[in-house]
C-alpha cells in the first residue's frame, strides 16, 4: 500500500472557492470500490473533500467543459480529463448530494486541476446521490 506522502499531488491552478489557501491535494481511495475518493489537502490533512466520478451515479451527465477551463489546465481536448464531483455527505443517504454545477476537472497527465463552474447549464449544485 502506498503511503499518502508518496502520492503525486494534484495541483489546482485556481483554488477551490471558499479555500483560497489550498492548492495541493492528494486523491486517496476511501475504500476498495474505486468509486469514492478523498481529495485531501497536502498542506492540511484535516481538510478533505469527498469526491466521486460521475458514473455510475450520474450516467447521463456529460457536461461541456468550456475553453477557458481547458486553457487553464493547458489542454486542448476534454478527453484527457478526469471529472470528479464534490459530495456533501449527509448523515442519511437522502441528505447526500453531489455538485453537478461545478465539477472538478483534472488533467491526468499534468495533474493540474480546477473546479469549473457550469453557470447557466441548469445543473444543480445539490443533486441527490441516491437514485
Amino acid at each position: 500500500m502506498t503511503a499518502v506522502e508518496t502520492l503525486p499531488t494534484i495541483d489546482f491552478v485556481a483554488p477551490l472557492p471558499g479555500f483560497p489557501e489550498h492548492r495541493r491535494f492528494y486523491l486517496v481511495n476511501i475504500d476498495d470500490s474505486g468509486l469514492v475518493f478523498s481529495l485531501t489537502s497536502a498542506d492540511d490533512p484535516e481538510l478533505r473533500f469527498l469526491v466521486v466520478p460521475p458514473p455510475p451515479f450520474f450516467p447521463d451527465y456529460t457536461p461541456e467543459i468550456g475553453d477557458d477551463a481547458l486553457a487553464a489546465l493547458g489542454v486542448d481536448e476534454a478527453e484527457r480529463l478526469l471529472l470528479l464531483l464534490v459530495v456533501t455527505a449527509g448523515e442519511t443517504l437522502r441528505d447526500t448530494t453531489a455538485n453537478l454545477m461545478a465539477p472538478i476537472i483534472i488533467d491526468k497527465e499534468s495533474r493540474r486541476a480546477v473546479q469549473t463552474v457550469l453557470a447557466g447549464s441548469g445543473f444543480p449544485v445539490r443533486a441527490a446521490l441516491s437514485a
Binding site: L16, P17, G18, F19, I30, D31, S33, L35, V36, E46, L47, R48, F49, L50, P56, V86, V87, T88, A89, G90, E91, T92, L93, T96, N99, M101, A102, Q115, V117, A119, V125, R126, L129, S130
Partner: protein
Amino acid sequence: MVGDDVVITVLDVRGDVVRVGIKAPRSIQVHREEIYRELQAANRAAASPSDSAVRTLAGLIHAGDKS
C-alpha cells in the same frame, strides 16, 4: 449572439488580434457573483465530512453492489 442586453464593441484590430469591449448589464455580473458565493457555500458545506458521514456514503456504494 450573446443576448439583447449585451453590447460587444470592437475596440481595436491589429492583424489577427481583435480587442473587444463587452458591456453587460449589472444583473449578469451580480448573477456571477451569486453563483460564486453559492459555490463557496457549497464547498464549505462539503468540506471535511464526519467519519460517520463517510461511512454512510461508503454504505450507499456497497448497497448498490449486488453481484
